[in-house]
Symmetry: C2
């Protein structure tokens, strides 16, 4: 079976997943089809940003297959826990959103039982699941046009950087007149 994910063969994409993500997670195989579908439905030649609506797996498909990464800011995550992504024009914020369609997944019982966690991972036949995902491909997905809200899409600038008088580390003053965000509120670790 010939399956391509953008300009990669299926096998190449599997190798990319293993190298970056650690293993070819089923969600990332679906994720490959999602990115492929979204990119093919954007006007060619535009510069685009990405929104991902979950932290689980899907951000890695976007990071591997598009120029958008968390660190360069072209990929943003808004953690709605929906398996969905949007790619959209950097200038106009118009683009497409691709999601796993709960109706379409019904045609694939093995995929449905995995996606909705109806079986334990021990009961799941992983080989069959992955083969089903490859066969289903974009058939699990739906798409619609979107225009991302400017408040989510706009790049935020950090502004002036100073040293926090409490932790003595640099921070953007816009985060607080007195202390950095970490010293204001959250305690990530016990000891410094």
């Amino acid at each position: 079976m010939k399956t391509n994910i953008l300009n990669h063969t299926y096998e190449e994409y599997m190798d990319m997943l293993k190298s970056f993500h650690g293993y070819a997670a089923p969600g990332l195989i679906i994720g490959g089809f999602m990115v492929d579908k979204a990119v093919r439905n954007l006007p060619s030649g535009i510069l685009y940003d990405a929104f991902c609506e979950t932290r689980s797996c899907l951000p890695d498909a976007i990071q591997l297959l598009t120029p958008c990464t968390i660190g360069n800011g072209w990929l943003k995550i808004i953690d709605f826990n929906r398996y969905a992504l949007s790619l959209y024009d950097k200038q106009t914020y118009a683009g497409v959103r691709v999601f796993v369609d709960a109706e379409k997944i019904k045609a694939w019982p093995e995929i449905k039982s995995w996606f909705f966690k109806l079986k334990s991972s021990k009961e799941q036949d992983q080989t069959n699941l992955i083969q089903n995902i490859r066969e289903a491909g974009a058939g699990l997905l739906s798409m619609h046009p979107v225009r991302i809200q400017p408040e989510f899409a706009m790049k935020k600038h950090k502004g002036k950087i100073e040293v926090c008088p409490q932790c003595r580390e640099p921070y953007p003053v816009a985060d607080g007149d007195i202390f950095c965000l970490a010293c204001q509120e959250k305690h990530l670790y016990y000891s410094k």
Copy 2:
């Protein structure tokens, strides 16, 4: 000048940055030295997770140089806007935190003026800046032991998945009895 970033030559790391992040951002060159320092100071052979205290640049150094990515959940971001990362044992949550030291950076005026945004990007001599960062290397950094708070370090399980009656997409019921998070609160895009 011989500079290594873990098992990569400096030039190899520059190529990895260009390929993944789009360009060899100065912050990611520092990020390479930060990951290198943290990894070398962990007990060898342990499995570790990562916390990154900024969304800017640094997560990409972690994703490129360690097994930890956003999508596999081994890298988490807590957006304190501090240029700092922690690598810690998956079991005990004990590890090390590496940060850009506001005192040490004073010895490098070109780096300081970039990091604290004292010059516009036009005024900045990019070649000189990058050369300085390479020379300074781990000399810009400090480190201390940490034990990550369990509430931040523990893996969260999504639990039961159902279809949201509003958007008709799958979501974890733990997010809300009635609607998914997206339908409850936030409006990422205009049209569906």
